[in-house]
Amino acid sequence: MNIEKFVSEFADQFDDLDTSAFTPETLFKENDEWSSMTALSVIAMVDDSYAVRLTGDDIRNSKTIQQIYDIVLAKSN
């Protein structure tokens, strides 16, 4: 897996937000669209694409996309 692809898959979970400027360092909760539904979509995406089970706590304890990526990476090994 690579971080560029992950950032793009992560960004796909937002419907309205302009995510073109998303980078690994983006603080993904600092916008109006972030909700429990987006969090749920991220968990579903990671389950589908990486067969990794993120928990609600994984999301709660992360601020950047990089942090989520690192958790997925660690859990997939």
Binding site: D15, S36, I43, L54, G56
Partner: protein, 334 residues
């Protein structure tokens, strides 16, 4: 003695909460888009002076009328709710009196949420198998609307109030098969009303953010949706597989999978994960929302109404959620 589902009916309160109304309450929030994802247009909400037991009674009366059931024949009441009238007595006792069910009937409440209907079928089957009762009125009724903080847009969008009544008997339209049950209390805090019972009797007035922009007090319904979703994607495919195994059938033998109608997004995720065709996977929540313990009987009722069921058809029923608690069974139509 074998146990059967003999009749099912349900009741929805008159008041409704539509997406348009939610949108007016929370203009900055994309209610339509989210409601579309979770597959809910309208939820029914109990009136201020209408309680879960009132709705359970209305559902039972609907069952008596719709299926020509005589309350005098009922010899056990199982009432599933997390919204009892009182700490004591058991609400099922009050229901017995109001419905004119014989005083020789047994009655008890059991406190479960989204797994409650399937657990109720398991309890009813046990009562029949043991020769304790022959006509069991299984009632499910919930008014989560009364637990939800008025500014908690997430939970307001998902949950609807409803009640359902099922007659489980020694004969009926579908035989109740074997059960797979599960419990994991480690998840208790993820779906909880913390205050107002014995451990924390005082309800605090201060509100807290749940981390996703929803306001709640510890006396309100708290649901960590993403955490529940993670639990569901882990446990439910296994529950389905184990339920099939316990009933000696395979996925292809099941005409309809009727899962707890949590929300459409979650159900679709589970359906794809389990590789079940959409035509075999029933969804009914647009007009009712997530009705907790009544979601399975409501979907069962609507699925049977939609088209006639072939004799020998097998349907899988599964409930899961608050506890955590989960349960599955297979019913075989006569």
């Amino acid at each position: 003695m074998q146990a059967f589902i003999k009749a099912v009916s349900y009741y929805l309160p008159e008041n409704k909460l539509t997406n348009a109304e939610l949108s007016a309450l929370f203009p900055e929030w994309g209610v339509e888009k989210i409601a579309n994802k979770i597959g809910i247009d309208t939820r029914h909400i109990a009136a201020g002076d209408q309680f879960a037991s009132d709705m359970a009674i209305a559902a039972a009366q609907q069952l008596f009328e719709e299926h020509n059931v005589n309350p005098a024949e009922i010899n056990f009441i199982l009432y599933c709710t997390q919204s009892p009238d009182y700490f004591l007595p058991t609400t099922a006792c009050i229901i017995q009196d109001k419905l004119g069910i014989p005083v020789k009937a047994g009655a008890l409440d059991f406190n479960l949420g989204c797994s409650g209907y399937v657990y109720g079928l398991a309890l009813a089957k046990g009562l029949i198998a043991a020769g304790i009762a022959t006509n069991i009125l299984l009632l499910t009724s919930e008014t989560y609307s009364k637990f939800i903080h008025p500014k908690d847009k997430g939970n307001l969008t998902i949950f609807g109030d409803a009640a359902a009544a099922t007659l489980v008997s020694t004969e009926g339209f579908a035989a109740i098969g074997n059960f797979e049950l599960g419990t994991d209390g480690k998840g208790a805090g993820n779906l909880m009303v913390k205050q107002g019972a014995i451990r924390y009797p005082e309800k605090s007035a201060d509100t807290v953010q749940d981390g996703y922009g929803n306001e709640q007090s510890p006396g309100n319904l708290h649901m960590d949706g993403p955490e529940i979703f993670a639990f569901t994607s882990k446990e439910i495919p296994a529950l389905i597989t184990d339920t099939l195994k316990k009933n000696g059938v395979s996925k292809a033998d099941i005409g309809q999978f009727i899962l707890h109608q949590a929300n459409q997004y979650m159900l679709e995720h589970l359906r794809k994960k389990m590789d079940i065709a959409p035509e075999n996977f029933y969804i009914y929540m647009a007009n009712v929302g997530n009705t907790v313990s009544s979601s399975v009987p409501i979907a069962l009722y609507e699925a049977m109404k939609e088209k006639p069921v072939q004799p020998q058809a097998k349907w899988l029923l599964a409930g899961f959620g608050v506890g955590y608690s989960w349960a599955g069974t297979v019913i075989t139509f006569i």
